[in-house]
Symmetry: C2
Subunit: 152 residues, 2 copies
C-alpha cells in the first residue's frame, strides 16, 4: 500500500534486511555442513535449551500453537538436528533435545548472527548498528504502547 520511491519504503527495507540476515545465516550454516535448515526452523532453535526443552514451552515462547510448532520439530528431527524423547518427569510430555550435530548447528547459528553484526559494524560503524537496534526497539515500544495487546 505505497509508494512512489519503493526502494526507500520502510516496510520494504525492513523486510529486505531481515531476509538478508536470515539468508546469509542459513547460507553459512549450510556451507559449514549443516544443510536443510530453513528460516521457519528457527523457532525450534531460538529458545531451545542445550539440554532440551518441553515442546509446549517452546511453542508458547514462539507464539505458535503446539501443533504448528510440533510440525517444525518433526521436520528438524527428520534432518537429524533434534530428537523427541519422553520426559522422565511427566509421562504426557516430551522433551525436544538437540543431537550433537544439532547442538553444533545451534551454536554456530548464534555465532553467525554475531559475526554478521560485527561485519556490518566494521563496514558502516559500530555506533550505527547499535543505533539501528536501539531505534528499532524504541519504535516498537512506541507502537506497542499505542495499540494495547489483545486483552489478556
Amino acid at each position: 500500500m505505497s509508494a512512489i520511491a519503493t526502494d526507500q519504503h520502510l516496510v520494504a527495507l525492513l523486510e529486505s534486511v531481515k531476509q538478508d540476515l536470515l539468508e546469509e545465516m542459513y547460507r553459512r550454516v549450510a556451507a559449514a555442513g549443516y544443510p536443510g535448515l530453513r528460516p521457519s526452523h528457527g523457532c525450534v532453535f531460538r529458545y531451545l535449551d542445550v539440554d532440551g526443552s518441553r515442546l509446549s514451552e517452546l511453542a508458547e515462547k514462539s507464539g505458535m500453537t503446539k501443533q504448528a510448532f510440533g510440525e517444525h520439530v518433526a521436520n528438524v528431527e527428520a534432518l537429524g538436528y533434534v530428537v523427541r524423547i519422553p520426559d522422565p518427569e511427566d509421562g504426557r510430555a516430551k522433551r525436544v533435545v538437540p543431537t550433537p550435530r544439532g547442538r553444533e548447528a545451534l551454536i554456530l547459528g548464534r555465532q553467525v548472527f554475531a559475526d554478521l553484526e560485527r561485519e556490518w559494524a566494521e563496514a558502516i560503524g559500530v555506533e550505527r548498528v547499535a543505533a539501528l537496534r536501539e531505534t528499532l526497539r524504541e519504535i516498537h515500544r512506541l507502537q506497542a504502547a499505542r495499540s494495547p495487546l489483545p486483552a489478556y
Copy 2:
C-alpha cells in the same frame, strides 16, 4: 536460530517493526472506512497507477508470478477497490484500475505511511528515523553486493 536476548534479536526487531507499521496502517485505513484490506493486498496498490496498470507489469514489479498476483487482484476486486477491464489497446491484456473508493484508499494508505513516519520522527527525532532508513539501505546494499543475485 538464535538467541538468549530475544527482545534484542535483530531479526525479531526488524520483523516486529515491519508488523507494527503494517498493522497500524491497515488499522487506520480500515478505521477511515476502507475495511478488508490485508498486508498481502499491498502488492496490488504499491505500483498501481491511478489510471490503472497492466497486471503482468504489476506482477513483475512486485516480484511475483502473474498467477499469484492475479489472485490478490481478484481479492481486492471482490472488496470493490479495483476492477479489471480489458485493455483497449491489447485484446489479450487487462488493466487493473482502482475504483473511486480504491483511489481514496490508495492515497490514504500512502498518506498514513507518511503520517506514521512523521509521528515517529516527533517521538524519537527526525534524524534518527532518517538514520534508520539510511542504515537499512546501506546494510541491504552491502549484503546484496555480497551475494550476487541468482544469475540473470
